[in-house]
């Protein structure tokens, strides 16, 4: 199972990538997309919307059920991935790349400390 070392993770299977311009890009992990199976619908937050760490910010619907996607850190939504709204299978095909969901401008950067490292996340999904 792919768990890129440069990303940070949540217990609820989101990944987050801190970009150079201090933007935090969010998606779901390879493990999560495999659990969900074929994604058929993605509901994204609105640009400018405030999100809070650990609170539902997007919804992914698969053939199995609908799942809330939790914000890894608090902040304001700066961008959303329109491509994934039109082509939800991107989440299955390329969850760490073209299947990203939304980006946040963090308002409480200290929260990042509470996220999991790739080793810690890998340990969690193997448990």
């Amino acid at each position: 199972m792919q768990v890129p070392a440069e990303l940070r993770y949540t217990k609820t299977h989101e990944w987050m990538r801190q970009d150079a311009n201090n933007e935090a890009v969010v998606g779901i992990t390879a493990h999560a997309q495999e659990e969900l199976r074929d994604v058929v619908f993605v509901e994204l937050p609105k640009v400018g919307q405030a999100v809070k760490q650990g609170e539902p910010s997007a919804v992914i619907e698969s053939v199995k059920a609908a799942f809330d996607i939790y914000a890894p850190v608090s902040g304001t939504v700066s961008r959303v991935n329109e491509a994934v709204a039109n082509t939800p299978q991107l989440v299955n095909q390329d969850c760490y790349g073209k299947g990203w969901l939304f980006a946040i401008t963090p308002t409480a950067p200290a929260e990042t400390a509470s996220l999991l490292s790739s080793e810690a996340y890998e340990k969690q999904i193997k448990a």
Partner: protein, 504 residues
């Protein structure tokens, strides 16, 4: 995919009719004279033109391809697909019920009003609540009405309350209803035993909580043993306890939500009280409330004055009307017939039998498929098919293979706290022989999964319609028939269904 025949639209022949309308004996009025222009069609609707006989054959054939409670074992967890006694139908078809008009004056409808009044009293006795409305037409509409009552109650008390606590084992409609009512939903994580974790509840129970919405027994088929403590905690904070009564089939005549501290609940008559369900008929989701909430119930209400019954259209604090007229009255008549037929002791025996059937089946299956939250269950239980993953088989595959064995598929992938879940609810109406056959079928499928997994992955194979592409159906829904392009037809091509909506 092999279809069983053409669509009714494809059977259409221009000008073919199933009946002849006699000449009118009233003067014709052009629709444009009496209806606003934007309500008029430019062209008549393209309805299929077939003879009565074509329509009868077409729909009879489709009905024979169907799975239903009347044809197959239907262990659809959380849906209580019990047998619908035919006596209910005979009672509902009595001319005095069947021919009533909803606008008939109360003086001419004393019989049905008495029945509705008595049904409310019976539901109060069964649940321990103080009053009921029979208006909501489904369980989820009952939830919505209940949440409106919760909001109205806090408004009256001048308390600002914006959140609803919901355990992760709740029915999916609970958070949906709460969100639709304008509340913020806060999820409670279940404890390791699959029940509400009191520490988690205490942590999240703030002064902003309007109510806890819980299902009891929960979707794992487990009874919330700490319900009285839970209710007391909520009440200390001035919050209410809403119970989703969809699983009431485990409690009839055994315990009453009103005695547990529940403030309001909805019942699903189409589950617990044997009225037709799913494609078989409309639902009914009456809401029962404790005394303190009675003023908020929807109007109209049926009142008894002396020996007469009448409608009361006004209420001081009512949340208003939630259904035209008084709900799905035909369904209410059937539920009344069921309750009267079984009586107090009969209802208790039905619930006991439902619990015994579920526990029997759970034990019969435990060597094949484990139950993650293993306790004495009530009316249903949830197994995990996680072990089959190594063979590339999902819970959905097993569910579809069960169709080949003549059993309707149990609920899959729910609740979400169990991986590869199959949620099984046999109900009280099934015999030991049927339960044994079902256990045998699941064991046979487990064997196939090891020795011929392709058979399971490609199921169903013996149905009229074989494996459908659920992913394509969800991503590119094709929801209506569109007349084929005549130029394509003229070129000799076979007419085919419409392109997916939204693709062009």
């Amino acid at each position: 995919m092999s279809m069983s025949g053409p669509l009714i639209f494809e059977r259409s022949v221009p000008g073919r009719r199933g009946y002849a309308v006699p000449p009118g004996d009233v003067p014709a009025v052009p629709p444009g004279d009496v209806l606003p222009e934007d309500h008029l069609r430019a062209a008549p609707p393209r309805l299929p033109e077939v003879a009565e006989f074509d329509a009868v054959r077409h729909y009879t054939r489709l009905s024979q391809a169907n799975f239903s409670v009347d044809t197959h074992f239907y262990p659809l967890g959380s849906c209580t697909m019990k047998y619908n006694p035919k006596l209910n139908e005979r009672i509902a078809a009595l001319p005095g019920f069947a021919w009533l008009h909803p606008l008939q004056p109360a003086a001419q409808a004393q019989g049905i009003l008495q029945l509705l009044y008595e049904l409310e009293q019976l539901l109060c006795a069964i649940t321990g609540m103080a009053a009921f409305t029979l208006q909501p037409a489904a369980g989820a509409q009952g939830e919505l009405a209940g949440l409106k009552i919760i909001a109205a109650y806090h408004r009256r008390k001048r308390r600002a309350r914006s959140t609803i606590l919901i355990p992760d084992s709740a029915h999916g409609t609970n958070p949906a209803s709460a969100a639709l009512s304008g509340f913020t939903v806060i999820q409670l994580k279940s404890g390791p035993d699959g029940l509400i974790d009191l520490r988690e509840l205490r942590r999240k129970l703030t002064k902003d909580v309007a109510a806890l919405m819980l299902t009891n027994p929960n979707t794992l088929g487990l009874f919330e043993r700490e319900i009285k403590t839970i209710a007391a905690l909520l009440h200390e904070q001035g919050a209410l306890v809403y119970m989703d009564g969809a699983n009431m089939n485990a409690l009839l005549g055994i315990s009453r939500p009103g005695d547990m501290g529940v403030d309001l609940l909805q019942l699903n008559l189409h589950k617990t009280f044997s009225t037709p369900h799913g494609g078989g008929g409309p639902g009914a989701g009456p809401v029962g409330v404790a005394k303190a909430l009675e003023d908020f119930l929807p109007v109209p209400r049926v009142r008894k004055v002396g020996t007469r019954f009448r409608w009361e259209a006004r209420g001081r604090a009512t949340v208003g009307r939630v259904h035209g007229f008084y709900g799905n009255v035909g369904v209410l008549v059937r539920a009344y017939a069921y309750i009267r037929t079984l009586g107090r002791e009969g209802l208790a025996r039905a619930s006991r039998a439902a619990i015994i059937n579920a526990n029997y089946l759970k034990v019969r299956l435990q060597d094949t498929f484990p139950v993650p939250f293993d306790d004495h269950c009530l009316h249903e239980f949830v197994v995990t098919l996680k072990a089959l993953r190594a063979r590339g088989i999902s819970a959905g595959d097993v569910a579809k293979r069960l169709l080949d064995y003549g059993c309707y598929a149990p609920t899959v992938y729910f609740p979400l706290i169990v991986e590869e879940a199959l949620m099984i609810e046999p109900t009280e109406t099934e015999s030991k022989e049927t339960l044994d056959e079902f256990a045998q079928a699941l064991r046979a499928i487990a064997h196939e999964a090891q020795h011929n997994p392709e058979l399971v992955r490609r199921a169903p194979q013996r149905m009229v319609v074989d494996r459908v592409d659920e992913v394509k159906a969800a991503r590119e829904p094709n929801l209506r028939w569109v007349e084929p392009d005549p130029s394509v037809q003229a070129a000799g091509s076979k007419p085919h269904a419409a392109p997916p909506l939204g693709s062009g």
